[in-house]
């Protein structure tokens, strides 16, 4: 395959997200302007100007009309996808990290980093369909975990919120009361910062990637570890194929070590694993920095990776990929 290289960001990529139909690709980077691309040919549709800091995460509503972004400028913003106009700003007292729309797009979860004396927190906001009626009020604020909460996602039927972060523990919260329902144990779970989380389409299981050089597949209800995928490098990004039983894991050594090691030794490749057999299928090379973000097209026929090198690489799979037998 010949990937399409999209160089629209001037700084490292942080997050990638496809809309539901898989025709639009949203990319976030540390350069303040989230960008939307056409996912088939990589043409740039537009940029969302307004943030004043690195943008860590984004999510797009099911109807592809609203975009929510979380940024280090201590805000999360709602955008009109079509025009790029800013609809609403949620102001916080610390950088926003992860954002996720609930099923139905009526709710959104936003996590904030620990900052000065503030601890990290998970905020649940209600999202109104009319941006004029939007309020900044939090329906629920969950505090407790130490360290940064790198990622948060809605569990099945919006009943739970799953969070994970620097303390390496995956937690399941009740999304109405904010009560901690289950947390992963230190022994069997991740040993280092959980950097990313990818929820399966049906919400039954999710995949986490951690700096402990592994990715784990969890049951979202019971929080049992179903599978573990081991690599040689810290994992920054994970994604699951919606079409085949494949998971893709991206990473590489930390950015500070990049200049001191060889490109080949860096292992800046997206590694494909068989979801059930946990066997490595192969690697896709190309980035010359660690991979920070990965996303699968909802049709499963292409995937995108974003790296510390500022490039978004859009790969349309060859037929060979679909013929792989394990």
């Amino acid at each position: 395959m010949r990937p399409i290289l999209m160089k629209g960001h001037e700084r490292p990529l942080t997050f990638l997200k496809y809309n539901r139909e898989g025709d639009l690709l949203f990319s976030c980077a540390k350069d303040h302007t989230p960008t939307v691309w056409f996912a088939d040919n990589g043409e740039r549709l537009g940029t969302y100007k307004g943030h004043n800091g690195a943008v860590w995460c984004c999510d797009v509503s099911r109807d592809s009309r609203r975009l929510i972004t979380g940024s280090a400028d201590q805000t999360a913003k709602l955008w009109d996808v079509k025009s790029g106009t800013e609809l609403f700003t949620f102001k916080f007292d610390s950088p926003a990290r992860a954002v996720d729309f609930a099923v139905g797009d009526k709710l959104a979860v936003i996590t904030t980093d620990p900052f000065m004396e503030l601890t990290s927190a998970i905020h649940v906001k209600s999202i109104s369909s009319d941006p004029d009626e939007q309020t900044a009020e939090s329906l629920l604020t969950i505090k407790g975990p130490r360290g940064r909460i790198q990622t948060a996602a809605w569990g099945p039927l919006n009943k739970t919120i799953i969070s994970a972060g620097e303390d390496a523990i995956v937690r399941v919260w009740d999304s109405e009361t904010g009560k901690l329902l289950i947390e992963s144990s230190k022994e069997t779970g991740h040993q280092n910062t959980v950097s990313s989380l990818f929820m399966s389409e049906d919400g039954s299981h999710f995949l986490t990637g951690s700096l402990d050089k592994s990715a784990k597949l969890w049951d979202s209800r019971t929080l049992t570890i179903l599978k573990t995928y081991v690599t040689e490098r810290p994992v920054n990004a994970v994604a699951m194929s919606p079409l085949l039983e494949h998971v893709v894991i991206g990473g590489g050594q930390s950015a500070s070590e990049v200049t001191t090691t060889d490109r080949r030794a860096g292992k800046f490749e997206a590694k494909f694993f068989h979801k059930i057999l946990q066997e490595e299928i192969g690697g896709v090379k190309g980035h010359f920095g660690p991979i920070n973000a990965l996303a699968f097209n909802p049709d499963g026929r292409s995937f995108t990776s974003g790296g510390e090198d500022g490039y978004v690489r859009l790969h349309h799979f060859d037929q060979d990929y679909f013929n792989i037998k394990m």
């Binding site: 290289l5 629209g8 139909e21 639009l24 079509k82």
Partner: protein, 267 residues
């Protein structure tokens, strides 16, 4: 498969067209239920005979479903930094990237091995020392055994040499390079080789003219790169002459080879 079903006006035919318009018109049958379409056309072949050409084509329709709103979003105007037609920087990778299969844990492919495998097309142990043929026969079964310089002769010559020097009664070391020099008497110098020509490529090229005793590309010691020329020795001198005739000025790897008898090595 490009089949022109368009018929030219008869006035457009040139006389030397060979009267194409006399041929029956092209028939198209189908496509039938299975999507098979038959195109029957007529033409004159090189011998001037009328030939019926039947081409069977399967016509398939692929339906790609796109979600609601995809078409609409296609036509959305660009905004933000993309509004001024500036598309960022989009390029298609020149490199063809494959899903690379993992190597067994703890095992690293050695670059040398890969190079060798690519260069020699699978190494073989069976090498004839007389004619240099690989993988075909052993030295002792070589067809050209009696034509090759006899190692026994070489030793007798060296003993003659030492006879000449008898008066000094000094020990004269046998000259192991004697045989090699004899070989070089009719070695062929091949120059203007491309950088990635290897010994075996050279051998392959010259093997067509007869058994090759030696084929060597010279490499720079420091850079490891080819110096752009090499030497080839044939078992038979006549083969060498033919090779020079044929290959001098032959285009190889986009370069024009210069093939000539090697000048005797200056002392």
């Amino acid at each position: 498969m490009a089949i022109s079903t368009q018929r030219k006006d008869w006035a457009d035919y040139e006389e030397d067209d060979g009267g194409d318009f006399l041929l029956p018109p092209t028939e198209v049958i189908g496509p039938d239920k299975k999507g098979i379409k038959k195109v029957i056309s007529y033409k004159y072949n090189d011998e001037g005979k009328k030939v019926k050409v039947t081409t069977t084509i399967r016509v398939t329709k692929t339906v790609t479903r796109t979600g609601r709103g995809v078409e609409e979003r296609r036509s959305w105007p660009k905004f933000g930094a993309a509004a001024d037609g500036n598309d960022g920087c989009i390029s298609v990778s020149q490199e063809d990237i494959h899903l690379e299969k993992p190597t067994a844990p703890g095992e690293k492919p050695k670059e040398k091995d890969i190079q060798q495998a690519a260069g020699t097309g699978g190494g073989t142990l069976m090498v004839c020392r007389t004619c240099g043929m690989k993988g075909d026969h052993w030295t002792r079964e070589c067809r050209y055994k009696n034509l090759a310089p006899n190692p026994a002769d070489a030793t007798s010559e060296t003993s003659k040499d030492s006879d000449n020097n008898k008066g000094t009664k000094k020990y004269v070391a046998p000259r192991p390079d004697r045989k090699r020099r004899e070989d070089e008497e009719h070695s062929i110098r091949v120059s203007n080789l491309s950088d990635d020509t290897r010994d075996d490529d050279l051998r392959d090229l010259f093997a067509a003219f007869g058994p090759v005793a030696r084929a060597r590309v010279l490499f720079d010691h420091h850079t490891g790169k080819s110096r752009g020329f090499g030497f080839v020795n044939f078992v038979h001198k006549e083969d060498g002459e033919r090779a020079i005739q044929k290959l001098n000025g032959y285009g190889y790897d986009s370069l024009i080879l210069c093939v000539e008898w090697a000048a005797p090595r200056s002392k």
